[in-house]
Symmetry: C2
Subunit: 342 residues, 2 copies
């Protein structure tokens, strides 16, 4: 049984097909023959199932070391392929450019029409354009879109990526209020009880009845809805926001408004290093549930570094919240990223 | 008893001194009289201990709202002052520019020669130059240097800042090895057992005896120490590192080397969003303890955003490690930043 490498793929006959495809899900069949991708071949070589393959190009023989050291196999792909095999999955190179591997449910294989994960394999230093994550999600009709990040010590971290519809059921009538713009916030000196008590706007200086301090983003939203007046006039709050935060302020204001419109209450996510934490259903601040999401607001053109993603997602997981990225372009797209253990 | 504001400070007589300084630690004494900083006065006004103060400049009377809305008191200072008072501390404006407040141990006050914390109060959008943190630490002879960060909803997060001597007791003789430079790592195909087993260099492909993959930073360090040779020649590893990481690679290599020299084993901190996690005392990888530090490598000129600090420190706390920033300039300075609840 000989395996022959043409520089792109490895070809073998019916014996190899029976042994590697039929019984263990390697490769794909072409007629009665077998075609193996270089990464699949590297795994067979690594395991010792095959000793060497014949290189048609120069008549040499390639062993595991030779193939892994060649340009035909990326180390990142190999480590992800191996790790998923070690976890008991069969997988194949993906048929499109958005993902690298199609992973079948445990027990299934390439002869089944099932998908557990569509995996994109990247190194820890690979820049990840937000757009490429969106495309990975959009191209994943069946199964789950997953990033497999290989760190510099070749450990693999799996992150599930998905669109996230954000919605809640918070809906209170808040009487219009009057506030005073200070350096970095607005104080409502005589707030109606509903402002903080029901709407969960701002923060009381101490207790119920006390003045309520609004953050600039809360104040800008309320002012835009006609719910807040200040002596500083329309636009002063947004101007102040832009002065202290630049264009990030406008993005945050749009995301804040979208969350409120969806019935979700955004509060500062500062303690978690995020823009907002959110509460889906606030009846009253005295009976506040657990906040569900951490939201980071980013421009739609953002490029993620895998390390920053790992940090955000790990923190969110540790505090039992879901990390959501609000990508602001013409509209707002919501991507959740979560820890995964396939 | 009248309090008189000259635009910088508030002055009052012996009655006020007795009532506010002697019994509750507000202000400082000048002869038999009392001088209050605006932030202290704002707190007395807020509590209702004083209704208004006389403004010498225009003959008007200032209430809490008037003083807080004026330029004399920053909201950030007020929220920190109030929060520390609420926690049972007496505190005074600091005598130097590095800190904003000197906080006395509970039960002590400005008449004691004791310090619990030297606190710098900042808003969540204040840029924090690494150098200003170093100066805060350096100027703190007694007590602890603390950052008090006021978020946009006026909650205060306290972070302790300190120099951190990094040292461990790991010390093994590792025989020199030969490796092969792949795209993003070096593989030692026939490693001596000590390389990974004692020195905790790299990662085994699977089990003891397998090839060991070294990260580029590990490989560059070993090559620099004469412990690794590759066919690619001297300098190729560092060149590759710079190609994939830019100048960050040189900073990481220096910090890696400093940690190894100090007897500490750095391994990747990727899963924690950091550069390294560290082990102070590795006898053998089979009896590995808990890693103690998360190290983020930064240029000495770095400017922190409070939100990023909050994220790093919160994560480190959640995984029971200490966050350490390695600031690389001519030398390396190590600053630990930890969660504090005064």
């Amino acid at each position: 049984m000989d395996l022959s490498f043409d520089g792109d793929a490895v070809h073998a006959g019916p014996d190899a097909r029976e042994r590697f495809y039929d019984s263990r899900g390697y490769g794909r069949t072409t007629g009665g023959d077998l075609t193996l991708a270089p990464v699949e071949t590297a795994h067979l070589l690594y395991r010792g199932d095959v000793d060497t393959v014949y290189d048609e190009r120069d008549g040499s023989r390639l062993d595991f070391r030779g193939l892994l050291g060649s340009a035909a196999v990326s180390e990142v792909d190999f480590f992800v392929y191996k790790d998923l095999r070690d976890r008991g999955f069969y997988l194949s190179p993906a048929a499109d450019d958005q993902a690298d591997f199609t992973v079948y449910p445990r027990g299934d294989g390439p002869w089944d029409d099932t998908t557990a994960y569509r995996v994109r394999a990247v190194g820890e230093r690979t820049d990840l354009a937000a757009d490429s994550l969106r495309r990975l999600v959009a191209s994943t009709a069946a199964g789950e879109a997953v990033l497999a990040i290989v760190d510099e010590e070749s450990e693999v971290t799996y992150l599930g990526v998905d669109e996230r519809a954000v919605s809640g059921s918070t809906d209170h009538e808040i009487p219009p209020v009057t506030g005073e713009l200070l350096a970095d916030r607005v104080v409502v000196w005589e707030p109606p009880a509903e402002l903080h008590g029901k709407g969960f706007y701002g923060q009381r200086l101490d207790q119920a009845g006390d003045p309520v301090q609004l953050s600039l983003v809360e104040a800008a939203y309320l002012a835009g809805e006609g719910g807040l007046e200040t002596d500083s006039g329309d636009g002063a709050i947004t101007e102040r926001g832009r002065a202290v935060e630049g264009e990030r302020f406008d993005r945050r204001r749009r995301v804040y408004a979208a969350l409120r419109t969806a019935g979700v209450v955004p509060k500062t996510g500062f303690k978690f290093g995020a823009d907002f934490r959110t509460y889906g259903n606030v009846e009253s601040v005295d009976e506040l549930g657990h906040s569900e999401l951490l939201v980071r607001v980013l421009p739609g053109s953002h490029t993620f570094e895998p390390r920053d993603l790992a940090l955000d997602v790990r923190l969110a997981h540790g505090v039992r919240k879901t990390m959501v990225f609000a990508l602001v372009g013409n509209g707002i797209e919501w991507l959740s990223v979560t820890r995964r253990t396939p």
